[in-house]
């Protein structure tokens, strides 16, 4: 069970959270301008990153907030959590490196 650092409440057990999928997939202001291909990618295309993955979590059984996290999917270690609207933090090379 992961230990997740909610930007509001601090470190809490995974059970209190709900995973929210890949982060930073922005919904277009006007979806009608998106062609089928682009819309299909928006709906379904995912980086499914092996390595540092930007993802959303909601502290649903806590403060209720959605927030973003960077987690290395090869070892499940979190590198950062940050609030919605904040920039994806830059990581030192070593941490950000993607394992093949």
């Amino acid at each position: 069970m992961l230990l997740i650092d909610c930007p509001f409440c601090g470190k809490r057990p995974e059970l209190e959270f709900r995973y929210g999928g890949e982060a930073h997939i922005a919904r277009p202001d006007d979806p009608s301008e998106f062609g089928d291909k682009a819309w299909g990618q928006f709906l379904y295309g995912r980086s499914n990153q092996r390595g540092m993955h930007a993802e959303r979590w909601r502290h649903v059984h806590g403060c209720g907030r959605f927030f973003n996290a960077l987690r290395d999917t090869t070892n499940d270690r979190f590198a950062a959590t940050y609030k919605i609207g904040e920039e994806r933090p830059a990581l030192p090379e070593a941490q950000g490196a993607v394992e093949a």
Binding site: M1, L2, E14, L15, R18, Y19, G21, E22, D36, K37, G40, Q41, L43, Y44, G45, R46, S47, N48, Q49, R50, H53, E55, R71, T73, T74, N75, D76, A100
Partner: protein, 417 residues
């Protein structure tokens, strides 16, 4: 290929089993092949086997980054059934079940396909509606599936608790008698041995690291940890790692890879005659020929490549197992493990061509692709050989996610495995 039989065993017994030869060779990669399969799981090996047997393409390499069958093929709960709802899925999975029925003989390898019946439990009115919808659709598609009352379900599986006082009582079940289990490792090894005998090179410890493309973007070669290999046809069958491999050709896939866990109990004498699945309270269970209860747990909620998951996931499953089978409460977990399952938005696989010429993909089997192994391999081989899909896999094309023609088994009835 050395034939396997009881007689052969007796003959070799006299020589102390000294003269058995490797079941598949360990060749050095050649500089070029007619086709390269990335991924030595059941599906990849079956693809190579059918390319060689059915389509006469034997100059094929299967590249496996670890050991063959070490992916999900070697870590699944081996449930085989074809009672899927939609016409497309029923056709796909039943194609596989038919191949399973003669597989041991075709491969000359006992894959222990055991048609002991797969029973899916209904716990409420909604379950009943959904399972009956399956029963009727299956019947019209020529797939066996029948509705059982709760007492009939218990008669079929005596350890089952059907007391009305249960929190979620069993109100009935759908039974596919042709469903069952098989020996997962034997499937990989059997295909490998048979493909190898036809000339296919099975190259282990060989990870693909890049896909090289030429003018017009067509596939030219793959780079591997054991050097570059030229080829015009690449079939990606990398299950949990598909997104990573496809990214080498700049394709972003409609896939997410999640940990899926399973566990076995200590072995006991035969007590559990069939396969039972309860989707509503999350339990999947059968007993292997070695005696351990094989139990499927759920997926963890997040993308991960760690091949393990959290403790609360198997705990949740064992709660359900103990409710359904209270006599198993004192049995003990022997081992728990995880796999990486590649899940599509509609929980149906992708088998077909891609926008990159010469690049084909077979993925998205998620929590339930073992059962499809022979069919999937056969259809994918067809697609690779003819550069067009077989009618059965045509609906499972990648660009259905662009225009919306999903085959949404999940939305229709959310049944895993």
């Amino acid at each position: 290929m050395q034939r396997f039989s009881a007689l052969a065993l007796i003959r070799h017994a006299f020589t102390g089993h000294k003269t058995w030869r490797p079941q598949w060779r360990s060749p050095e990669p050649k500089p070029r092949y007619d086709a390269v399969i990335i991924g030595g799981g059941g599906h990849g090996l079956a693809t190579a086997y059918y390319l060689a047997t059915e389509f006469g393409i034997a100059n094929v390499a299967v590249l496996e980054k670890g050991w063959i069958g070490g992916g999900n093929t070697g870590r699944n709960t081996t449930i085989i059934r074809s009672n899927y709802l939609f016409d497309e899925s029923a056709a796909l999975y039943d194609h596989a079940v038919k191949l399973w029925e003669g597989l041991s003989q075709a491969l000359n390898y006992n894959v222990m396909f055991s048609q002991r019946g797969v029973m899916m439990l209904a716990h409420n009115v909604h379950d009943q509606q959904s399972l009956k919808r399956h029963v009727h659709a299956n019947r019209l598609n020529g797939v066996d599936n029948e509705w059982l009352s709760a007492p009939a379900a218990k008669a079929f599986c005596p350890p089952l608790n059907i007391e009305a006082s249960m929190r979620y009582p069993v109100i009935g079940a759908a039974l596919q008698r042709r469903g069952g289990v098989a020996r997962h490792d034997a499937v990989a090894w059997g295909y490998a041995r048979a493909a190898d005998a036809l000339g296919v090179d099975i190259i282990e410890n060989c990870a693909v690291t890049a896909i090289r493309r030429g003018v017009g973007g067509a596939v030219e070669a793959v780079e591997t940890t054991r050097g570059a290999i030229e080829t015009r046809k690449v079939g990606v069958v990398a299950a949990g790692n598909t997104s990573t491999v496809m990214a080498m050709a700049d394709l972003r896939m409609p896939l997410e890879s999640y940990p899926l866990q399973a566990l076995v109990s200590e072995p006991v004498k035969p007590i559990f005659p069939c396969v039972v699945m309860s989707n509503t309270i999350h339990a999947y269970i059968s007993q292997s020929d070695k005696g351990e209860l094989v139990i499927g747990a759920g997926t963890d909620a997040y993308v991960s490549y760690t091949q393990r998951g959290a403790l609360h996931v198997p705990m949740h499953t064992l709660e359900a197992i103990c409710e359904l089978f209270p006599i198993f409460r004192r049995l003990r977990m022997l081992r728990n493990w995880g796999g990486i399952v590649d899940v599509t938005p509609d929980r149906s696989p992708i088998i077909g061509k891609t926008s990159v010429a010469g690049l084909y993909v077979n993925c998205g089997w998620g929590t339930g692709g073992f059962k499809a192994t022979p069919g999937s391999g056969h259809l994918f081989a067809w697609t690779l050989a003819k550069d067009e899909p077989h009618p059965i896999n045509a609906p499972f094309r990648l660009d259905r996610f662009r225009d919306g023609y999903l085959i949404d088994e999940a939305a229709a009835a959310a049944v895993a495995h």
